[in-house]
């Protein structure tokens, strides 16, 4: 069964709106890094944050005390539904499913909640903050805003979780009498998550992200959300949502990526939206791309937008759709011209491009893929 993308919504460090962000990427723009610090931290980290202007006009009682991760998700989800021309009412709300992809979740409120416990004891714990620390809080808020009464799921994983969520949507729509499935990937950034990735040797302190570089200098975290409305009909077809798998060791990531690419490239593909982010992921992807789809154009937006982990897979799908729709690719920023892949270092027209692969390799052992076609 193939599904279609009927609408998309995008909240990124380059602002909100699919066309607006895409135009900036085509012009070679990249997000501005902000330094964030912590009172007990020894070092600041650079991150790509969503500008406050991106959430202008977003007001709902359920979002009054919600963390930014829920606001990003609501903004992207509402935009995607609007783009798809879907207006939910009590009659069709039951026939719409909501699937969220999340990695670190509401880390800002989680840290604040536990800080009070550590500093002043359990009696200082806030009953207002605790519910916002739960992984499915963002999905719950958006379900309430939309009035969804049917299936709502939150999937947790690494950078591949967005594609896992789309795979789950495909399974759901095969089973249920559903008209639409809104899939949202969302993430917020905090000093604590930066410190965790840094201690795990996956983060660099300042930009840029240098994709596919042999020197794995690390990633820069970012935040935001991406949303797609899946329907029976729409301008883009998800021809194959590959279930992917996991790798036990980083050195084994390349093999699973090759397997995914082989399965997805049985139909001719024109481009690959990769997940290269300046970590070990890049060399695994490089080897797999070189071995399986060496003629396809390759693009990664992470040097421009950062690594948004739970949101990243949805961002990649939006990038693939936009590339097919506009028949061009933005420049890959901060890439070494000597890298032996079909990387476009400048804005690149795509002649008669029909199919794209989205490849997601997370830093916590998961990998997945997807093939998208324009109708």
């Amino acid at each position: 069964m193939s599904l279609a993308i009927a609408g998309m919504g995008w909240v990124t460090p380059l602002g909100r709106g699919v066309d607006s962000v895409w135009e900036q990427l085509l012009h070679g723009d990249e997000a501005s890094a902000t330094a964030i610090s912590e009172e007990f931290g020894h070092r600041p980290y650079s991150v790509f944050r969503v500008p406050e202007s991106a959430l202008t006009g977003l007001a709902h009682p359920r979002l009054r005390r919600a963390s930014v991760i829920s606001r990003f998700a609501a903004a992207a989800g509402l935009d995607a539904l609007r783009a798809a021309g879907v207006k939910l009412d009590p009659q069709n709300a039951e026939r719409t499913a909501l699937i969220f992809a999340i990695s670190n979740g509401g880390v800002i409120y989680t840290k604040r909640f536990y800080r009070d416990v550590v500093d002043a004891g359990a009696q200082s714990a806030s009953p207002l903050l605790f519910p916002e620390t739960v992984f499915n809080a963002p999905a719950s808020h958006l379900a309430a805003i939309l009035g969804v009464t049917g299936a709502t799921y939150t999937l947790v994983g690494d950078g591949a979780v967005g594609l896992a969520a789309i795979k789950m949507a495909e399974d759901l729509m095969a089973n249920e009498p559903l008209d639409h499935c809104l899939v949202v990937g969302t993430e917020e950034v905090d000093w604590l998550s930066c410190d965790a990735y840094w201690r795990w040797r996956l983060l660099r302190l300042t930009p840029p992200i240098e994709p596919f570089n042999e020197q794995q200098r690390g990633m820069i975290l970012s935040e935001g959300a991406g949303a797609i409305v899946l329907a029976r009909d729409g301008p883009f077809t998800i021809e194959c949502a590959h279930p992917g798998g996991y790798f036990a060791k980083r050195a084994e990531a390349g093999e699973i990526l090759k397997r995914i690419l082989r399965d997805l490239s049985r139909s001719e593909v024109d481009l690959v939206i990769a997940s290269a982010n300046g970590t070990f992921v890049d060399q695994a992807e490089y080897r797999a791309l070189k071995a399986v789809v060496s003629n396809a154009f390759v693009y990664t937006a992470k040097p421009a937008l950062g690594e948004s982990v739970g949101a990243a897979g949805l961002w990649q799908v939006i990038l693939a759709a936009q590339a097919l729709r506009s028949a061009e690719l933005p420049p890959v920023l901060h890439a070494d011209p000597a890298i032996a892949l079909q990387l476009s270092l400048s804005r690149k027209p795509l002649v008669e491009a029909r199919r794209a692969i989205v490849l997601s390799c997370g830093v916590n052992q998961q990998a997945a893929g997807l093939r998208l076609a324009i109708r």
Binding site: S103, V118, A122, N136, H141, Y153, D158, A164, Y246
Partner: protein, 408 residues
């Protein structure tokens, strides 16, 4: 029982068999110990020992003893570094693999709420209190929610892709329900499904801050109920297309016959007091199974023993069912959150296999507002063909599954 040629004409693609199950909880390690504890209606809640609860109202929980749990170290991976949640998942999966070594899943769907949360707590405390962070990479690497699932699969050479559902306290039932639908639709032949959660200070304090947990005994559906206690555990069910299972001669322990999911949008922590969310989940499970309410022989309720949950769930049950026996097994082991739905599915499986009603312990007085047939304090023998298990969670997420005794 599920009827392949349903009266409303809806096509049921495949029957879904449970061909193996594994469990670890405060009630015991494995199906045998769990069955004995259920039959004896054991109270497995004890004083919390893993962290300080001096400032909490509630000071008890259902806990799995580390001396037995950590004896599962050394599955070819660095066992001493793994989180307790990984050890629980390894324990549960070992039992599944021991029963069904030929079961090769195409997908694994597991529910959880907090992954390796206590490692996140160690990391944050060490940062905050300027202590040594030598172990930080281990804590960080073992914190993600998917890690215990991958560790368990890796320990037994299983390479299926993982979907980790975090739908709060409904996660385990959602995982089994989604896996059931994947097999029933014919898209998958074999799926592993279940849930896990290990107790952690942050979550314990969180429920205490909401005054949802009790300093007293956990008394689901009792007039004098004062709240929940937390628990922990892991459970995994091996689901397979019935035809496929029979062709290869696999034992069929029971069938999953229906699944219902709903979202009630009332409040992020409280259920809709009308019980509409719970009712919709149960109704949808019945519709999914093509089973009538009067064909259900037992309900394993969500039954957290909070005033609001039990009132809403009790109202929904009494509106839909007429005198069906109900118990909350959380009275015996506490609420294991993301594991609860999976652990309770295993309890239902044992009830179906051994034809008894698990009990709702600590029950002293009926709530006049709830018209329920509570299985109070003692296990009862019963003829069971179809049983329902409920799980409801924060965010207004509600899930119900129906299981049936296997009849060829």
């Amino acid at each position: 029982m599920a009827n392949p040629s349903s009266p409303n004409g809806k096509k049921v693609s495949a029957r879904v068999a449970v061909v193996a199950a594994g469990v670890v909880s405060p009630l015991g390690f494995g199906l045998g110990e769990t069955l004995e504890s259920l039959r004896k209606a054991r109270d497995c809640v004890s004083p919390v020992t893993r962290f300080s609860v001096a400032q909490c109202r509630c000071r008890t929980a259902g806990q799995i003893p580390d001396d037995r749990l950590l004896a599962s170290q050394g599955e070819g991976i660095r066992g001493h570094r793994l989180h307790r949640a990984s050890h629980m998942m390894i324990q549960a999966l070992r039992e599944v693999v021991t029963q069904e070594s030929q079961f090769k899943p195409e997908l694994t769907v597991i529910g959880t709420t907090s992954g390796g949360m206590s490692y996140g707590e160690h990391y944050y405390r060490s940062l905050r209190q300027a202590e040594k962070l030598r172990h930080a990479p281990t804590w960080i690497a073992n914190y993600p929610a998917q890690k215990p699932v991958i560790d368990a699969q890796q320990a037994f050479g299983i390479s299926a892709p993982c979907q980790v559902i975090a739908n709060a306290c409904a996660s385990g039932t959602n995982a089994i329900g989604h896996a059931f639908e994947c097999v029933r639709s014919g898209r998958y032949q074999r799926v592993l499904a279940g849930g896990y959660d290990a107790i952690s200070e942050m979550v314990f304090v969180g429920f205490d801050s909401l005054q949802a947990s009790t300093p007293e005994k956990c008394r689901p559906f009792d007039r004098h109920r004062t709240g929940m206690v937390l628990g922990e555990g892991a459970a995994i069910l091996a689901l397979e297309n019935l035809e496929s299972a029979q062709q290869r001669g696999a034992p069929v322990l029971a069938e999953i016959v229906g699944y219902g999911i709903s979202t009630d949008n009332f409040h992020i922590t409280q259920p809709d007091p009308t019980g509409v969310g719970a009712r919709q989940a149960m109704e949808r499970a019945l519709q999914s199974a093509h089973v009538l309410a009067n064909e259900v022989d037992y309900i394993n309720a969500h039954g957290t023993a909070t005033v609001f949950n039990d009132a809403a769930e009790g109202k929904a049950i009494s509106e839909l069912f007429n005198g069906v026996p109900v118990s909350s097994t959380k009275s015996m082991m506490g609420h294991s959150l993301g594991a609860a739905g999976a652990v309770e599915a295993v309890f239902c499986l044992l009830a179906l296999q051994h034809q008894f009603l698990p009990s709702n312990i600590n029950f002293s007085a009926s709530d006049d507002d709830l018209d329920l047939n509570i299985v109070a304090n003692e296990t009862r023998p019963a003829v069971l063909r179809t049983v329902l298990s409920n799980s409801f969670g924060f965010g207004g997420t509600n899930a119900s599954i129906l299981m049936g005794k296997f009849q060829a």
